[in-house]
Each structure stands twice: as structure tokens, then as C-alpha cells.
């Protein structure tokens, strides 16, 4: 009863307006490549100095939720992941838009983000203290095993296993550039100070997916192919919704669970969800060809992470990702120390944040649906002009993120690499996954072995680690087993008519 009383202040027009403004602002920031949700939250923290804690924090949460959602817009329309969280949405969103179904792709993304956000928010509001314990179980070996499991996605995601493995290994190699995470020695930087932290992630993704696509487009323009001018309505068809139901639920749950584990983030969640939904699907071959459940899988997962990442933050004082780390700064400025005590000392703030998460998700749905026709109009722009503007956005977005000129070389380099990979049938997605998981894998393997004094057995012998290692073996072995089964069935079917 008491907690309901804490919810009423949320419905004051001033607070609703602040949350709405935050969500809309975040949505636009997320939709622009290179401007991320993290940046939006960080830049607006000073604005919250004068606000009450509930108002200020809910504005920041609005930006966060809107920002992670907004990333899907440019992924779907322009093949430019607005935030790393939406990189996996490119796989099915962009082909759908190219088929003239941009509106429906965006509609599906909006619905999926809302479902994922709401499910995770329910979990946040009901089970936060109970689930937060999961976050504490993760030490170096558990993170290592999780990252290793994540890498098996490459096996099932890339059609050609050898080429997929090559892309993945290349990605891991690239992720070793920069300061060694354990000793601090600079690796492969060739004395360029700007590479001291390795290749910046967002510029690399923008190059890999967006610039490479512009190169491909230029070839098509030269071949005088007609552009798509159809964008379709915004509501997915009944059959698309029916097909996506499983993916929505699965994505939301995977996103929630991964969101609770600190330091993994929405990028990892959306790739794992995509892979699991594809594996569970009756028609896995449709994934990657512009299939609505593919969007449902990634977008429900990445928005579920937003609310779920608040679980360890509020319950334990552990930020789950970069944005929640910034939010923690926001809480501290308000004189509130996140952690188990917060539930006792400031229940009004905790309940206010729970409520605000719901409200922001609903605003995100309304604004997202309302803006789809506006966003889709981008595709009406003549292809030549669009290609030019994407190039400009690639440069601005890559520079804006760290103001580091070296990032522009990174973006162009990855653009050329991505174009070459596309041309010769290497999976860009595999490279992207390796770039996300490589550092997690390496630093935790080395940190864990440092802590156990190079005792490998001690390193792997915890229950969660063993569970993930078993899943890794299953996941990596499954495509081979499945392939063998299909072949055997085909042989049997062939041999049957003969024996009759």
C-alpha cells in the first residue's frame, strides 16, 4: 500500500513531462549514429542538479530507454547501428527495409522494444533484490565462460563455417590492439598515441556496417538500379506477430538475465538472443533475409537490458553497464548511495524509479510509433544523395564519440574491410561479435589465471563456469550434429523409394 503512495508523485504533469522529454530526446540521440545513450545521459546529468531525485533520475532513465530503442532506426533504414546495442538488428531490419517494408520493420522493433522493456521492468519491480545475487556470482572464470559461449554464435550465424571462423578470429586479433588489460603494455599501436585504447568500438561498427554498405550502394548506383520508394505501413501483419511471439518472449528473458550480469551489456544480449531465437525457430533459414522475428529477438533483448541493468545498480550498488555507471554518478550527486540500504532509506526513490521505467517505456512506444512515418521518409531521398549523407554521418558520428581524429581512420579502415568481407562472403556479424566479446574473453581469462596462479583446473571449476562451458560445447557442436542428421534423413528418404 505504502509503495502505491510513492507512485502518485510520478503522475504530476511536471514529472510526466520531464520523462516524456527525456525519452524523446534519448530516442533522437539514439537514432543519430555516433551519439549514444551513454553520451545523452552523461551530458544531461548537470541539468538534474536542481531537480528532485525522482524527477532527475527518471529523466535520465527516459534518455537511456529512448536511446537504446532509437538505435534501431538507423540500423534498419541505413544499415548504420545508431548504438552498438542495435548492431544485430541490421541483420534482418535492413533487408526488410530494402524490400520496401521499412515501416513494418520499425513497427516490429518498436513493439519488441516495448515488450522487452515492460517484461524486464516487471522483473525489476518484483524480484530485484532476489535476482541481484546473480550479479555477485560472476567472477573472472564465469565471465570468461559466458564470453566463450557467446562466441559460439559465430558457428551458427555464418553460413560458411570456415569463413565465419576466419572472421571471428580476425575480430579477436583486432580486439587485442591497444593497452594490454593486465600488464598495461601497448600492443600493435605502432607508436600512434590515439590507438592506446585500441580501435574505438562505435567508429569500427559504423565503418564495418554503414560505410561498407555505401561502397556496395555506389556500385549499384553505377549499375543504375532503381531505389526502393515503398516504406509500407507501421503495423506488422497478423502472421508476422504470430511468428514473432516466441522470439519476443525469449528475447525479453535473455535480455533480462544478461542485463543483470554487470559488464556484459545490450550488445552481447541482442546477439545471444538473435542466435537462440534462430535456433529455436522452425524456419531458421529465414533469419538474416529480412524476417520480422529476427528484429523481435534483438530489440526485445536490448531494451530488456535497460531495465534489468538497474537491478544490480539499485539492489547492490553495482552498475551493470556504462550507462548505469553514469546513472550511479547521478544518484550519488543527489546524495543517494545505491545499494541494499537504498530500499530502506529511500523507498520513495526506488519505487519512483520502478514506476518511471514503466512510464518511459510507454512513452517510447508512443513516440516510436508516431515517428515511424517521419523516419521512413529518409528512404524517399534519392539514393545518390542518401549515400552521400550517410558518408557524412559516418564521419561526424565517428568523430563525435571521442573527438579523436584517429577514430576517423578506424572508421574508414573498417569500411574498406567490411566491403571486402561482404564481397567475398565473409560474415561481418562474426567480426562484430568477436569485437564485442574478445576483450571480455581475454581480460577475464588472464585475470582469472592470475588469481588462481595459472591453475587451469581451479579456474574452470565453479558451477556457473561449468554450465556455460557445457553450453559452449553443445552450441558449437550442434550445427555439426544437426547437419549430419539432416544428411542422414535425406539419405534415408532417398533410399526408401528404391527399397519399395
Amino acid at each position: 500500500m505504502e509503495s502505491i503512495a510513492f507512485l502518485t508523485p510520478l503522475f504530476e504533469p511536471q514529472i510526466l513531462l520531464t520523462i516524456a522529454a527525456g525519452t524523446l530526446g534519448g530516442l533522437i540521440i539514439g537514432a543519430l549514429p555516433g551519439l549514444t545513450a551513454t553520451m545523452g545521459v552523461a551530458l544531461l546529468i548537470p541539468l538534474t542538479f536542481g531537480m528532485t531525485p525522482v524527477m532527475g533520475l527518471n529523466m535520465l532513465i527516459g534518455i537511456y530507454i529512448g536511446g537504446i530503442y532509437g538505435g534501431c532506426v538507423s540500423s534498419i533504414l541505413l544499415r548504420t547501428p545508431g548504438t552498438p546495442a542495435s548492431a544485430a538488428t541490421v541483420l534482418d531490419g535492413y533487408p526488410m527495409a530494402q524490400r520496401g517494408e521499412a515501416g513494418r520493420a520499425l513497427g516490429m522493433a518498436t513493439i519488441a522494444s516495448t515488450v522487452g522493456g515492460l517484461i524486464a521492468a516487471v522483473v525489476l519491480a518484483t524480484l530485484a533484490p532476489q535476482l541481484a545475487g546473480i550479479a555477485l556470482e560472476f567472477g573472472a572464470s564465469e565471465y570468461f565462460a559466458l564470453a566463450l559461449f557467446g562466441l559460439t554464435i559465430i558457428a551458427s550465424l555464418s553460413g560458411d563455417l570456415l569463413k565465419g571462423a576466419i572472421s571471428g578470429l580476425l575480430g579477436i586479433l583486432i580486439s587485442t590492439v591497444g593497452a594490454d588489460p593486465i600488464s598495461g603494455v601497448l600492443r600493435y599501436t605502432f607508436n600512434v598515441q590515439g590507438f592506446a585504447s585500441g580501435f574505438a568500438f562505435t567508429p569500427a561498427l559504423i565503418g564495418l556496417f554503414a560505410l561498407s554498405e555505401v561502397f556496395t550502394q555506389m556500385e549499384r548506383i553505377a549499375a543504375k538500379e532503381e531505389p526502393i520508394k515503398i516504406v509500407s505501413g507501421r503495423w506488422p501483419s497478423r502472421s508476422e506477430m504470430k511468428e514473432s511471439r516466441g522470439a519476443l518472449l525469449r528475447g525479453s528473458i535473455i535480455g533480462t538475465l544478461i542485463g543483470i550480469v554487470p559488464g556484459t551489456g545490450s550488445g552481447t544480449a541482442s546477439w545471444i538472443s538473435y542466435n537462440e531465437c534462430r535456433r529455436a525457430s522452425k524456419t531458421p533459414e529465414k533469419f538474416g533475409t529480412g524476417y520480422a522475428p529476427g528484429i523481435a529477438a534483438t530489440e526485445s533483448a536490448n531494451n530488456a537490458v535497460c531495465a534489468a541493468a538497474l537491478i544490480p545498480l539499485l539492489a547492490l550498488g553495482i552498475p551493470g553497464d556504462v550507462v548505469t555507471a553514469v546513472l550511479m554518478g547521478g544518484l550519488l550527486i543527489q546524495g543517494l548511495a545505491p545499494g541494499p540500504m537504498l530500499f530502506q532509506t529511500n523507498p520513495d526513490v526506488v519505487v519512483g524509479i520502478f514506476g518511471g521505467t514503466f512510464i518511459a517505456t510507454i512513452f517510447m512506444f508512443i513516440f516510436g510509433m508516431a515517428l515511424i512515418p517521419v523516419f521512413s521518409r529518409i528512404l524517399m531521398i534519392p539514393r545518390r544523395l542518401l549515400a552521400m549523407s550517410i558518408v557524412i554521418f559516418c564521419f561526424i558520428g565517428s568523430f563525435a564519440i571521442n573527438l579523436n581524429p584517429v577514430d576517423l581512420y578506424t572508421m574508414v579502415g573498417f569500411g574498406v574491410l567490411g566491403w571486402g568481407m561482404q564481397k567475398f562472403g565473409f560474415s561481418q556479424a562474426a567480426l562484430c561479435i568477436a569485437l564485442i566479446l574478445g576483450p571480455l574473453l581475454e581480460s577475464n581469462l588472464r585475470r582469472g589465471l592470475l588469481q588462481t596462479h595459472d591453475d587451469v583446473i581451479a579456474f574452470v571449476s565453479t558451477p556457473i563456469t561449468l554450465l556455460f562451458l557445457a553450453l559452449t560445447v553443445l552450441s558449437a557442436g550442434w550445427p555439426l550434429v544437426a547437419g549430419a542428421l539432416v544428411r542422414r534423413r535425406a539419405e534415408r528418404n532417398q533410399s526408401k523409394p528404391e527399397s519399395q
Binding site: 552523461a42 555477485l136 600488464s183 598495461g184 607508436n191 585504447s197 554487470p262 547492490l316 588469481q451
Partner: protein, 318 residues
């Protein structure tokens, strides 16, 4: 014709900046923060900018240039034109420690210290499930077995301060580097490491919740937030450490501009509202002028040099 107009304009601008430095600042001052937006260095500098704009007739813009443990942004500030319009947030890691490890294109001698407005105090804490929970037990434990002490990054200020303490106290520790302090904090609360260096604000909340226990404070005297926690000094170990929040710039500014900026930092640091906001954020607000700030930096460099030499990290990346 056009050429002479341009030259005239150029001359006029030079004359304006040269002769009437009293009119400084005429355009927005940029402050490069060498870390991502949202960290404590960034947030405190944003409060400085806000206070600056309230107190003076001028604009101050914070620009985040993260990367290389702060080396990239610090380099940008130190290699900027010395006209007072590009300054930097003076952070310990990139200015004192990174040049010693190597791989930077600047040295501590290239830094013009303008003023320090706060210090971030440091507390060594025992993590959840650690086999010790106070200073004496910690040192006693360390005699048999090196405790695993988490830090926010290899070759960062956190690692140096933990190792410097161990050196002064005559014990051995095993440093476990993490990617940022929030990862270290997660591992600490989860009981995956034995101890870490924390800020008083985060240590207080976590110790009230029973997640960490404070071992000692790295100051000369006990601090208000932890009246019951000893300092290393009172335990007979000659060791203090704190990280800084200050303003720096490139060397070679003209005298008037420099004096104006120094005065501005002093006024900001003594502003009542500024002190309150920063204190709420967990910073220890204290003003030190350029000379005192520089002396502090040089002392920290001596300590770091000794530790890095022992860890074989001195000039490792040159």
C-alpha cells in the same frame, strides 16, 4: 585589397588579445576532460563550468576526449595553443604516471598548473568474505599470503597507490587489474578479490550495507566520514595518497591570462554553492594554487617512479 583587409583583421585580432588581456576571456574556454562523460573528473569539471559561468562573464565548455587511460585528452590539452582558451582537467594517472610508463607525447614538465579545487580521498577497503576486516588483521594476513587487491586499470593511479602502500608497510600484495573502477567494485562486493582502493563516498555506503569494511584512510589525519578508521600514518607507515581535481593548461600562456585563470579557479573553489555540490558528490573541496598543485604532482611522481621501477613498468612502453 582583400589581402590587406585580411591582414588588417589579423593584426587587429593579435593586438586585441595581446594588449587587452584584461578583457580575457572573449570567447568560450574549452576544458578537455580526458575521460568519458559521467565519471567523477567529468562531473566535477561540469560543476566548475557551471560555477564559472555564474561567477564570471564568460562561457566554459567541457569537452570529453577519452582514451589511452587519459593520455589522449591530456595530450590534446597540453599541445593546444597556449592562449588560455584550451585547458585541461588535471588528472593524476595521465599526467604523473603515464609519462613514466611511456608512450605519451608529453611530460610532467609540459604542464602549466593553474589550480587545484578538490582532492579525492582514498580508503583501502576489505571486500566481502575477505579473511580480514581491519588494518591490523590485514597487515598480519599479508605477512603469510599476498592479498589480492583489485584496481581500476593496469598502471593506473589505483594500482600505484596500493603498491606504494605495500612498499611503505613492508608487505606484499598481488594487484589484480580491472577495466575501470566499477568492475573492480563488482568483484569486491562479490568477494572475488580481497581488497581494493575506494572513494570514501562509495566505501561508506558499501560498509553500511555490510559489503565492504574500511581498513585505513590514505590521509594524514582521520576523516569525518570514517571517524573510527585509522590512517596509515598513525599505524606508523609513512604513506598518504589522494587523487586530484584541478585545472591545467599548456605552458607558455601570457602572464595576464594565467593570473586571471588562477584567480578564477580560486574564486570558484571558494564559492559556497560550489563547495556544497562537490562535497555532496563525495569530493574533499580544498583550494591549492598553481605552485602547491605542482609540488603535489612532483611528490606523487617521485612515489610513482619508485613503485614503477619495482614493478618493472618504468619506461615500459617507450
Amino acid at each position: 585589397m582583400l589581402k590587406s583587409i585580411l591582414m588588417g583583421a589579423a593584426f587587429a585580432t593579435t593586438a586585441a588579445t595581446g594588449a587587452f588581456a584584461a578583457d580575457f576571456p572573449q570567447r568560450p574556454i574549452q576544458v578537455v576532460v580526458p575521460y568519458s562523460a559521467g565519471g567523477s573528473t567529468d562531473l566535477s569539471m561540469r560543476v566548475v563550468a557551471e560555477t564559472f559561468e555564474r561567477l564570471f562573464d564568460g562561457q566554459m565548455v567541457v569537452r570529453n576526449q577519452p582514451g589511452g587511460g587519459g593520455a589522449i585528452g591530456s595530450s590534446a590539452a597540453l599541445n593546444a595553443r597556449a592562449d588560455g582558451y584550451t585547458l585541461g582537467a588535471g588528472a593524476q594517472g595521465p599526467l604523473v604516471i603515464k609519462p613514466l610508463i611511456g608512450g605519451t607525447d608529453y611530460k610532467l614538465d609540459d604542464v602549466e598548473f593553474i589550480g587545484l579545487y578538490a582532492r579525492s580521498l582514498q580508503v583501502m577497503v576489505a571486500c566481502a568474505d575477505a579473511p580480514f576486516s581491519d588494518y591490523d588483521a590485514f597487515v598480519e594476513y599479508a605477512k603469510d599470503k599476498a592479498p589480492q587487491v583489485g584496481n581500476s586499470g593496469a598502471g593506473g593511479a589505483n594500482q600505484i597507490s596500493a603498491e606504494a602502500f605495500a612498499d611503505a608497510a613492508g608487505i606484499t600484495i598481488e594487484s589484480v587489474p580491472f577495466n575501470g573502477s566499477s568492475e573492480a567494485r563488482t568483484a569486491c562486493i562479490g568477494g572475488h578479490i580481497d581488497a581494493m582502493v575506494a572513494s570514501p563516498a562509495e566505501a561508506l555506503a558499501a560498509s553500511e550495507a555490510g559489503q565492504m569494511s574500511p581498513l585505513f584512510v590514505m590521509e594524514d589525519e582521520r576523516i569525518d566520514l570514517f571517524p573510527d578508521t585509522p590512517t596509515a600514518v598513525e599505524k606508523g607507515v609513512d604513506f598518504t595518497w589522494s587523487s586530484w581535481k584541478g585545472l591545467i593548461g599548456p605552458k607558455g600562456m601570457d602572464e595576464d591570462t594565467r593570473a586571471w585563470l588562477r584567480d578564477a579557479v580560486e574564486k570558484v573553489a571558494n564559492d559556497e554553492q560550489f563547495r556544497k555540490t562537490l562535497t555532496d558528490m563525495g569530493e574533499f573541496v580544498v583550494y591549492e594554487d598553481g605552485e602547491a598543485f605542482e609540488a603535489r604532482a612532483r611528490k606523487d611522481m617521485e612515489t610513482s617512479k619508485k613503485v614503477l621501477e619495482k614493478l618493472h613498468m618504468l619506461e615500459m612502453n617507450n
